[in-house]
């Protein structure tokens, strides 16, 4: 009998790609998996329990050990700085973190402001540039901020750049490339090492194009 493993999955954008990757790696997930509205899905034959969490919360579940493994975007990892192992670059959901704003504008000299869903990443980036800016935390529709004058710049993830264009914004600097990562709790990494290694090996084969 294999030991049960709990895996925290990010709802939304990354979820379908992550499920597809797990299937390619040879894990037997039921066909109705994606359509379920449940927050906890047990897959008996694989001894997996999936929990469906907000992407930003995945590292939190894993750090506290209620999930052994998780799939989280690098953007979330940078923002949250949780004490978890970042084992694999799954190379899915590629995008990047960028600084954007209205075209042909400069940062306000008196009170430069930056709006972001990633206040820690934004603060660290501008500190490294030697710029003192005020960081404004928003929870969504970040593109609004420069348009209506809340901030001079935004820090957000860009995948195709379409949202920026549609809202009349341009990209100024690229901060970091983002893909999804396989993360693991430090205790699980040691106490359930055999099962975790097996998953890592299977996923590694898929990522490097060796179909099993």
């Amino acid at each position: 009998m294999k030991e049960m493993l709990t895996i925290a999955m990010p709802k939304g954008r990354i979820f379908d790609e992550a499920v597809e990757l797990l299937r390619q790696a040879g894990f037997n997930l039921p066909p109705e998996f994606e359509d379920s509205r449940k927050l906890i899905i047990d897959v008996e034959q694989e001894q997996f329990r999936f929990i469906l969490a907000k992407p930003m919360d995945v590292p939190t579940y894993v750090e506290h050990g209620v999930a052994d493994l998780g799939i989280a975007g690098k953007d979330v990892m940078l923002e949250e700085e949780r004490d978890v192992y970042e084992l694999l670059d799954l190379k899915i959901s590629a995008c990047y973190l960028a600084v954007a704003g209205l075209p042909n504008t400069k940062m306000n000299d008196v009170a430069p402001k930056v709006a972001s869903k990633y206040p820690n990443v934004a603060a660290a980036y501008f500190r490294e540039q030697g710029e003192q800016v005020e960081i404004i935390k928003l929870n969504g529709s970040i593109e609004l901020a420069p348009i209506i004058g809340l901030s001079d710049r935004i820090v957000d993830i860009v995948s195709t750049g379409k949202t920026l264009v549609e809202n009349g914004l341009v990209e100024y600097e690229r901060i970091a490339d983002i893909t999804s990562r396989l993360i693991v709790n430090p205790v699980s990494y040691r106490t359930k090492d055999e099962r975790i290694s097996e998953i890592v090996d299977k996923l590694t084969d898929v990522i490097h194009g060796v179909r099993s």
Binding site: E86, V187, R190
Partner: protein, 392 residues
Amino acid sequence: MSRLFMFEKPLGMRDTLPGLYETKSIARDAIKSEMKRWGFQFIETPALEYYETVGTASAILDQQLFKLLDSQGHTLVLRPDMTAPIARVAASKLLKEDLPLRLAYSANVYRAQQREGGRPAEFEQIGVECIGDHTISADGEVIALLISSLREVGLPKFQISVGHIGFVQTLFQQILGTEERAQALTKYLYEKNYVGYREHVKNLALSSIDKQRLLDFLKLRGGEEVLSFANDIIENESGREALSQLHQLWEIVVAFGEEDKLKFDLTLISHMSYYTGIVFEVYSHAVGTPIGNGGRYDLLLEKFGKATGATGFALYLDRLIEALGGVSEETPMTCILFSDERRQEAYTVAKERRAIGEKVVLQDINGVKNIDACTNQYTDIVFLIGKAGRGS
């Protein structure tokens, strides 16, 4: 800052209420007794130390230290760990004869927490330090004692992962050449960022063989066989020395008959920068963070004026209690409700029962407003009310 509620405590500070207190003290006593049976002697050190001495010698990050000023203007710290204070005492007072010292402690340590305010900033550690013995026998002994203590306290399932700081350092130094470059790579290990580690290795100007060695290093986890894999990766004497130490340690733990609890993990490095040799962490399957850790620190005592080696471990009592399954059942307690007429009788009964180890509460019935609520609190109630011969 908003106004404080009268019941509030500083961030990260906690009260321990009777149920938890009892559970903690049972666990603490079980572990302490075992440590004493192994000949370790308990000591206490002050909660406050000088920042310049113990504060800087301890490996806890500066922003995690609670600092304050004494009346002469010296900066003080609330001790962030017990290893540094014990090294101070040992070096200055106890190591006169140059004999190995076996010391133990159970004490609260203080670390300001960076995020999520509710995390404890004050927590109890129970641990031992074996000072002045440079042999691997000492490392083996503290690990065997750790296993034995956890058995005594009744923890069913746990695992110890052992690594070696010397192995990592010498492997990285030998391949990368400079300490600076070795540190850059170590940082990824420390941050547990293996993706970053691999990227970094790929971008280094190294032969493909050396790159592969650095990548294979991440796989050095498992049973005794890991040591021979490690032997294929390392190419210098000091690295082999580290492996031979781990091999000796394995033999020692086998001699203690405890090898089923032991695994090797050469990627294990600690945030405690004073470790120099064998390091280890203890995991319970029931808690998401290590319940204890330890290792060899051969350079720390030098800071306090006595160059000698030492090794030890510390258990986090709170996490251990969590691993044990939380607050245990309350032990039975009798309540004798008495009235004035039968006071003498009540006192006699209480004395007799206490003499055989029972817990007995004496309660004057006139002091109780709600008798039902009162009786529900206890496993057994004895009424000694009214004239003798009636009631009870």
